[in-house]
């Protein structure tokens, strides 16, 4: 009886409220992210200020971004989407979009314009690499090395990875073809602009694998972002690739004898997607949150907690100091002109097509 009454009452309320407010919003949101320092930066820069403005809202985090694509697909098949907003890398956003698991959106409608009035689509520009992708940050995959283990001439360019004579010792690389194949070709003399044209051909793929083969015995392959920082700290490897934010943390926060190379850093993007199939109320809340969480100030605020570059052009001048260390964050951004003199942009289209094919060859090569 009581339940029926409550239901009736709440229905009546909903109807009454519906007449006043155009749209009702749910009071709870499940945000999906990567855990660790990155998720904390999002919580501090986006979620906490939002909750301060809307005390009725509760936010819960799910650290599942790593397998977000598979989980979203499973949820979709089960017809029960329990996530409201999911943080994924751009390549995954593209795949989710292809699979119809992420919602397409109109940037100028969903996202706030810049303070000077520039529309969101112009402010984000090319960062919107997929119709479903709401960019947040630019991060890069780059190389860190042990300053005490590389001798008197520290490496200055990416090809130090392949130079066993000058820098003998183990190096760690990610256990996937992406980035490694590009670096291999680049250091094998392929011009930067031709890398993907060469990599399209079986000969080019063989060439890259042959170059990697020269250091195969000296490589420790990593699959989690935390591996290389740990291996560097332990002295297990003398250099290794990882995300620039991880290296920042090893160098500035943990004060390890590590330095980083910005040469040929591979830019990649990370951002939100809204899953398809949300209820109207949940969608209204998520849209409200996204509008707030991706505005110019919020994206700049995130850089206080982690050294990833905001995806908006208008946010760059607002990047301030690290919340705890009090150091200027701008020079630690991968997008800082000092750091970005020689960079590579992750080629989403290419890897969407060639990922399966090249990965098969890469894994077969690894297993030999």
């Amino acid at each position: 009886m009581k339940l029926t009454k409550t239901l009736l009452a709440s229905t009546a309320l909903t109807v009454a409220a519906g007449a006043v407010a155009a749209q009702d919003m749910t009071d709870s949101m499940t945000l999906v992210s990567w855990g660790g320092a990155y998720q904390r930066s999002q919580d501090e820069a986006y979620a906490k200020p939002y909750i301060a403005m809307h005390p009725e809202v509760s936010v819960s985090w799910d650290e599942s971004s790593n397998e977000a694509v598979a989980k979203l697909r499973a949820m979709n098949e089960a017809g029960n989407i329990t996530w409201d907003l999911v943080d994924v890398v751009a390549a995954d956003a593209m795949r989710l979009c292809d699979e119809g698991l992420a919602m397409e959106y109109d940037p100028d409608e969903l996202l706030a314009p810049a303070p000077d009035g520039t529309s969101a689509s112009d402010d984000f520009g090319d960062m919107i690499v997929s119709d479903c992708f709401i960019p947040q940050i630019v991060y890069s995959t780059t190389v860190g090395y042990r300053t005490d283990l590389v001798g008197d001439t520290p490496p200055t360019d990416i090809c130090a990875i392949f130079d066993l004579d000058a820098y003998p010792g183990k190096r760690s690389l990610e256990k996937r073809p992406i980035n490694n194949m590009e670096w291999a070709l680049y250091c094998d003399g392929v011009a930067k602009d031709d890398i993907y044209d060469v990599l399209e051909t079986p000969e080019g793929q063989d060439q890259a694998l042959a170059k990697l083969d020269t250091i195969k015995d000296s490589v420790v392959w990593w699959s989690a972002g935390a591996d290389t920082p740990q291996l560097l700290a332990d002295g297990e490897v003398i250099m290794g690739s990882t995300y620039n934010g991880r290296l920042f943390s090893v160098i500035e926060e943990q004060k390890q004898p590590v330095a980083m190379l910005w040469d040929m850093q591979v830019f990649d993007l990370d951002g939100w997607i809204i899953p398809t199939g949300l209820s109207d109320e949940a969608l209204a809340r998520v849209k409200d949150f996204v509008y707030f969480a991706t505005d110019t100030q919020r994206l700049a605020d995130q850089a206080k907690y982690i050294s990833y570059g905001p995806a908006r052009v208008s946010s760059a001048p607002l990047v301030g100091q690290h919340e705890e260390l009090g150091i200027d964050m701008a020079p630690h951004m991968p997008t800082d002109p000092e750091n970005a003199s020689n960079t590579l942009l992750y080629n989403y289209e290419f890897w969407a097509d060639y990922r399966d094919d090249i990965d098969a060859k890469f894994q077969a090569w690894l297993a030999q």
Binding site: N66, E67, V69, A70, R73, R95, C97, D98, E99, G100, K170, K175, D206, V220, W221, S223, D234, G235, E236, E349, A352, D353, Y354, R355, D356, D357, D359, A360, K361, Q363, A364, W365, L366, A367
Partner: protein, 545 residues
């Protein structure tokens, strides 16, 4: 109680007290018991069926399922069935593909198909993504010309009047949002004079009604409908047409017949989108994978591939799964034997100690069980790595040079060590419980009859402990064959298992069909080994306690 009246004078079947034959009565009582037993286990049975058997069956089914191709582009696959696979397919295939992909793009399903085909043909993913965007270019050629002739060709209502049944038109006009839409019906006879247009308009109208919940009276038709109209006007003669919008239609017919009318073949349209459409590869792949069920995933998982000429081995540099299957089996065997070697003495000591001490030691055996798997695996990393504890000790002792530290992790050795440690309790426990039931008197009897220690052990004790070894081995072997986390962390490149690839295909490449096929093979191998074990050793010889 069935009180059989057993006086021998009675002939015929024995009767129960109530007069029914005893056999029947017994059977009924037994059936009741069975039913009751079944009722008792029903919740568990249902639970297992729903949460365990059904998902596994569903997952395994994906290893052959391939409806996505024929569901998404049904007309194309039908046309390609006639095609011999030589050179380019006929224009009819391009036409069918145009209409199929156009609808799929509206439904946002073309990219799914692209992802599916990309597993077989590199480049299909972006080809379909591009085509979804690009197909409008073909239709716009016609749409623009019709629109320039008469603005009504780009309006919703004139089209609806031309194509729709009058009764439907009035019902649809009265429809308001929130109600059920009256199902679209074609006007009588329109299919005869404009067959393709009628078909495409019906597809459009039904899509708007069912999937967008919009009224076809308010939505301008897709450019595919204009393309179909051109095709019909080119092919047919409309001079005798007297239905609604006759003027408009006849003017369009005249326009199409004029030499200035710009046209584009479907093939040329596809070529404009991407030249890959003019390579036979994509068409062959579609044809090859157009059936609802495919052996392709299973072939892929044994390093083969489906080709028009039947299954073929993959190029050398792409073969990996057979190697991984062999490695998984080999390493699981090694791990099982290491567990037997290490576990047997421990179980022996445990079972021969007084129970107080045995219990204490038992806790030590079980202790690792209560520690997180990840922690134990990572601990091995700390121990075995080159700057790790063991290497440090060896260097300190002078047994190993500082610059030649042993590589004990990120290879097979690391996986074997870590997994042996992790799975050891699964070996010790069944061994212990079997050994503790072996009476000491047998050993004493053997010794008192003059057997040496070794003979006593080997001829008397060991045979009785074999069921424990069997049970432990099956447990450890089957667990290790599907192990995933430990090989991933400490296995490097040479110490990873097939399960790591399965996990990759489930969570990263999203090729669930291939993952399911690999999983099915793994399951079959385990069942086969289990069967072989039963034949050779006998499953009755296995005891868990």
């Amino acid at each position: 109680m069935t009180d059989a009246t057993g006086d021998g004078s009675q002939s015929g079947p024995m009767l129960a007290a109530d007069g029914t034959p005893l056999k029947k009565s017994l059977a009924r009582a037994l059936r009741m018991q069975k039913m009751r037993a079944l009722m008792l286990i029903a919740p568990l049975l249902l639970f297992v069926l729903v949460t365990f058997i059904a998902p596994i069956a569903d997952m395994l089914f994906r290893s052959v399922e391939n409806q996505i191709v024929s569901d998404t582009i049904p007309n194309t696959t039908a046309v390609l069935e006639e095609w011999d696979g030589e050179g380019l397919p006929p224009e009819a295939a391009f036409e069918a593909a145009y209409y199929d992909i156009f609808l799929a793009a509206e439904r946002k399903e073309h990219t799914k198909l692209g992802t599916r085909l990309n597993y077989e043909l590199t480049g299909a993913s972006s080809l379909f993504r591009k085509s979804g965007r690009g197909l409008d270019d073909i239709g716009e050629v016609y749409q623009d010309q019709f629109k320039d002739l008469d603005r009504d060709w780009d309006e919703a209502e004139p089209w609806a009047e031309l194509m729709g049944d009058p009764a439907w038109l009035s019902a649809q006009a009265a429809w308001t949002k929130g109600e059920r839409q009256p199902a679209f019906a074609l006007r009588d006879g329109v299919s005869d004079i404009l067959p393709k247009t009628a078909r495409e308009y019906a597809v459009f109208a039904r899509y708007q009604q069912t999937e967008e919940n919009k009224s076809p009276l308010k939505e301008e038709p897709w450019t595919a409908v204009h393309t179909a109209l051109y095709e019909d006007l080119k092919a047919g003669d409309l001079s005798g047409y007297t239905g609604p919008r006759a003027e408009m239609l006849k003017a369009a017919d005249a326009l199409v017949d004029s030499p200035d009318f710009e046209t584009i073949t479907f093939q040329a349209g596809f070529e404009d989108i991407d030249e890959d459409w003019l390579a036979p590869d994509i068409w062959r792949t579609i044809k090859l994978y157009s059936s609802s069920y495919t052996s392709g995933y299973f072939l892929n998982s044994v390093d083969m591939q489906l080709t028009p000429d039947g299954p073929e081995a993959r190029p050398e540099n792409e073969r990996i799964y057979m190697l991984l299957f062999q490695r998984t089996l080999f390493m699981s065997l090694v791990i099982t034997f290491s567990c037997i070697l290490l576990g047997y003495p421990v179980a022996y000591i445990l079972s021969n100690l007084p129970s107080r001490t045995a219990n204490l030691l038992m806790i030590l055996v079980l202790l690792p069980f209560w520690t997180s798997l990840l922690v134990r695996t990572s601990a091995w990393k700390v121990m075995l790595q080159q700057q790790g504890v063991i290497n440090d000790v060896l260097v300190w002792l002078g047994l190993v040079a500082d610059d030649a530290r042993l590589a004990m992790i990120n290879n097979q050795f690391g996986t074997i060590v870590a997994m042996t440690h992790i799975l050891l309790p699964f070996m010790i426990l069944p061994m212990f419980s079997v050994m503790s039931t072996i009476p000491h008197s047998y050993v004493r009897a053997a010794k008192s009859l003059g057997a040496t220690n070794w003979t006593t052990f080997w001829r008397v004790y060991f045979p009785q402990s074999v069921p424990g070894i069997g049970a432990g081995s099956i447990l450890v072997f089957i667990l290790s064959i599907g192990y995933y986390i430990t090989p991933e962390i400490v296995g490097g490149t040479t110490g990873t298992f097939i399960s790591n690839r399965i996990a990759y295909h489930i969570s990263s490449s999203l090729n669930w069909g291939l993952a399911a096929a690999l999983g099915a093979i793994l399951l079959a191998v385990v069942l086969l080994l289990y069967w072989a074990y039963d034949k050779i050793v006998g499953i009755d010889n296995v005891k868990l306690g």
